[in-house]
């Protein structure tokens, strides 16, 4: 079986030759190849090249077309500062605190900001890998993009003080995500991973997720499925136990769970959803392959009977992580 087949087997709870492993390697691919993150994040071909080299090096079952969390906001008009060794920051948000999002233009993924670069990277990844490994795109979920129109503090205060205006931002963000996700699928992504860190219960209460975010995630995932996504993958970090039960209703087939949630708890809350996780990302920082091996074996053991599991970290593996740790994770996968 190849990587894509293993991942699909996990999604459908069917048997595979080996359990799939898809460590969340984004900027680490640049680090591994000696490429500066500011270059990696602005050149789709370079991003794809680093991802392919990282995949060849580690033999993981997926590649991730991910540049940073600021791409969508930048494409709408926010300004960024780039750094050599860390992801960019937004220095100026597209909307002032007093504005609403109704007059913003929906970004065109083929022409605005760096969105076309990511699409170019996806095309290259898919044309190289075909269906031998999962080619995952990436986009921001509605809550995170809404906060990136104003800055998170302004956006959260708005959510409390002026909920109608905040919902306009959420709706705009949802339409952006749909359009960008559809473009990624057209470019060749098997699916776009929906990252929505600001939807975490660490940021907003579960009732906020249920009332405001769940309906919009449903809309987004329905659109992605209709566009041809082979599955829907929702990635929210942090203590998500209180919102995991709503993932199936949102339309998520694959759910990342972070180290806050135990494998047993995640399996209980999402009995029919493929789970991805959940090694602590910073455990990859200092070389300690034995620690990673131990954690990976525990995870495989926890999911051996259930199936429906992809070995990974609970959130992004830090770019500067020690390669020996990632190799150790894959080595445990190879043990079967």
């Amino acid at each position: 079986m190849n990587g894509l087949e293993r991942i699909l087997a996990a999604v459908h709870f069917t048997a595979a030759d080996l359990p799939p492993a898809a460590p969340q390697l984004f900027g680490h691919a640049a680090h591994l190849c000696g490429v500066r993150l500011c270059d990696y994040g602005q050149n789709g071909a370079l991003m794809a090249d680093c991802q392919l080299r990282a995949k060849a090096h580690y033999r993981s079952d997926a590649v991730f077309a991910f540049m940073d969390f600021c791409m969508e906001s930048e494409s709408i008009g926010s300004r960024l500062r780039f750094y050599e060794a860390q992801y960019p920051e937004i220095t100026s948000y597209v909307l002032p605190a007093t504005a609403d999002a109704s007059h913003l233009h929906l970004p065109d993924p083929t022409s605005d900001g760096r969105l076309p670069e990511l699409l170019r990277g996806i095309e290259r990844l898919r044309s190289t890998l075909g269906d031998t490994a999962l080619v995952a795109g990436s986009l921001l979920g509605p809550m995170t993009l809404a906060t990136q129109l104003y800055g998170i503090e302004t956006a959260l205060f708005m959510a409390a003080d002026d909920p109608d205006r905040f919902e306009i931002a959420l709706d705009f963000a949802t339409e952006c995500a749909i359009r960008y996700g559809q473009a990624q699928i057209v470019a060749g992504a098997h699916l776009p991973v929906v990252f929505d860190p600001a939807a975490s219960p660490a940021v907003v209460p579960p009732a906020f997720f249920r009332e405001l975010l769940l309906p919009r995630l449903k809309r987004l995932f329905a659109a992605l499925r209709q566009a041809g996504a082979i599955a829907n993958w929702l990635n929210i970090a942090g203590p998500t136990a209180t919102i995991l039960p709503w993932y199936p209703e949102a339309g998520a087939d694959i759910a990342t769970f972070d180290y806050y949630v135990s494998p047993e708890q995640a399996a209980r809350l999402l009995p029919q959803t493929c789970l991805v996780g959940n090694i602590k990302p910073l455990d990859f920082l200092d070389a300690n392959p034995e620690r990673i091996s131990g954690a990976a074996r525990q995870l495989f053991s926890a999911f051996r009977e259930r199936g429906g599991f992809i070995l990974s970290s609970g959130c992004e593996i830090p770019p500067e992580s020690a390669p020996a740790n990632i190799a150790a994770l894959i080595a445990v996968r190879d043990e079967g």
Binding site: Q86, E153, L156, A202, V204, P205
Partner: protein, 219 residues
Amino acid sequence: MDAASTVRDDFRPLIEALLAGDHAAALAETRRLSQIGLSAETIVTAGLEIAMQQLDDKCTVESFNLLEIMLVGRAVSAVVRELYPEGVPPDKSRGTLIVATLEGDVHDLGKNIVKMVLIGKGYRVIDLGRDCPVDTVVAAAEREAASGVLISGLISTIVPQVRRVRAALRAHGLDAVWVVAGGAALKQLVATDLDVDCVAENAFDGARYIEQRFGETKP
């Protein structure tokens, strides 16, 4: 501590407004309490500190969320600005603390949250902002005679900087200054990894550690 049992009746409206994150009502209530002759110190200890204690009791790892904390924080800040327009004087505070996000990390939301919690608990807080060099932290700790330094870090690249703080303080004879780390990246490590006294799960956890250390130093 059962914070509810120590609530004075005349402070209930203020505490309720603070916990609801209603900064306008909290401000109005503060003005009312000031007008009937209550001192700023009393309003802090019987109002703000009790509200913060109740919030602390409510905020477990599962229920801590930024939105609610920020709303309370905005209300607390409005009240403190009303009571001390020139800033909290050292002799009116429970102690002085430094908060910062270190050089290389431009994310300051976590730092702002811990600052709010500490102010609400009656501490004088020196905010060095984000992207702050370790040397600036040390100089501020010395200049302000701070008891502790609280570092927030969202990204993993900041770890080497955090590991420098203790040694830099020691090099200036500030061995007794407590160092607390927190934030999404740093809290995945343990105190010995970072050479700090405490790794806080959240802002209240960090504040609890500070309170515990102040408790130990009381005569």
